[in-house]
Amino acid sequence: MIETVIRKRIEILVDSPLVRRVTDAIDKAQITGWTVLPVTSGSGRDGRWREERVMGTDKSLVLTISSVEKAEVLVDTLAPMLTSHGLLLTMWDVEVIRGERF
């Protein structure tokens, strides 16, 4: 089997108008890239939301793969936004191929 290396996978759920701020933080942490996934509805302590695209208040999921060091930089950069802007961040180890890219 092809050799794999361990990297961090970080996923951040964020209001769509704020996606740009999150991806700017990823770029600033010098991570090579990111990918945005759509999200259709949700529920949290602030109640439910659904079909808010017309209002521009929907959410998106930003996904990025990085080395442990850069992941730490990213999390520290995002720290002040996490609570104030209600981001939901999860992070775990994944195996990747061509690990030198990340």
């Binding site: 108008p17 602030d46 695209r53 521009g56 208040t57 209600g86």
Partner: protein
């Protein structure tokens, strides 16, 4: 002509909105895909912008237009201060949420304006085309005053200020409204004729389907609402009544015709639920959409569609007659 002349409840536009409210209240799974709804809202803005621009290309610009634009600017900027005071004292909201809600009521709702155009038009009150430009200029000043109120004392983070100003002045609806208004002015009646089948003939039908969706969303949001209390509900009806009356009065004072003064009333009475919520997510993420969006979308918007528009039409008629 008496009130019944409006007969708004026999208009398909209103009936589809009621169907949406009802379907959500019964918890039906009826839903319009978000991409379609978003597409319809862009279509409505482009169409209303074009139409207004063509009207101005025909009528030209004069002192009346300048007066209306100025009045719109001033009203949009000042209404939030008034609203803020009541939100703080009467409804006891904190500073951030009061500022956010105030911004919504100073700004305007494109769809309320469009619906008013149709309903007033059907009763013989044709709002002047240049009011589309007034609509566009009224979108942003309230955001600025709302943010000033929300942040009094508290500093905003500098990093995001330029981004915020761009979002506020170049947000999608302002750009599309002003852009298609300008296209209407440049292309004129002759250029417009080519695209009229899509933007004019189809307009009312699309408005029906869009209001169906807004009815669905407004009612569902109200059902799921947790953060609302009776004082906020009261204000969500008092605001449009007061602001609408103010708008009609000002319109009358600056010499707008009956229909156009009613249109200014509707603009003041309406609360934004498209441009402003997105801006608040960016600028005041701590504010609770369960308050501002539910007030503007689920209470003020239906109130204006079902009651307010007719009311301001009558008020304007009565004022100009007396």
């Amino acid at each position: 002509m008496e009130v019944s002349a409006f007969a708004p409840f026999a208009s398909p536009v209103i009936l589809f909105f009621l169907l949406g409210l009802l379907a959500s209240a019964l918890r039906s799974d009826l839903a319009i895909p978000e991409a379609i709804a978003k597409g319809m809202s862009l279509y409505l803005m482009a169409a209303i912008g074009l139409k207004g621009g063509v009207a101005v290309a025909k009528s030209g610009v004069n002192a009346e237009v300048a007066a209306a634009l100025l009045a719109g600017l001033v009203l949009s900027f000042t209404i939030p201060f008034l609203a803020y005071a009541l939100l703080r004292s009467f409804a006891r909201l904190d500073q951030v949420n009061a500022g956010a809600v105030a911004a919504h009521y100073g700004s305007v709702s494109v769809v309320t304006f469009v619906t008013a155009n149709e309903l007033l038009g059907a009763s013989g009150l044709v709002v002047a085309g240049f009011m589309v430009a007034v609509l566009a200029v009224m979108e942003t000043p309230a955001i600025l005053s709302g943010l000033m109120l929300a942040r009094r004392g508290g500093g905003s983070d500098g990093q995001s200020k330029s981004e915020l100003l761009r979002e506020v002045f170049l947000n999608a609806s302002v750009v599309l409204l002003l852009g298609s208004f300008a296209i209407g002015v440049i292309a004129g009646p002759k250029g417009y004729a080519e695209v009229q089948p899509l933007f004019d003939s189809g307009f009312k039908g699309v408005l029906c389907l869009f209001l169906l969706d807004m009815g669905l969303i407004a009612a569902r949001r109200l059902i799921d609402a947790r953060a609302l209390n009776m004082r906020l509900v009261f204000l969500a009806i008092a605001f449009p009544l007061f602001n609408g009356t103010l708008g009609v009065l000002v319109g009358n004072l600056i010499g707008l015709d009956v229909a156009t003064a009613a249109g200014l009333g509707v603009l003041c009475a309406s609360a934004s639920y498209i441009a402003v919520p997105a801006a608040m997510r960016l600028a005041l993420p701590q504010a609770d959409p369960g308050i501002y969006l539910t007030m503007s979308l689920s209470i003020t918007f239906p109130f204006n569609i079902l009651v307010g528009i007719s009311l301001f039409g009558e008020l304007s008629r009565w004022l100009s007659a007396s």
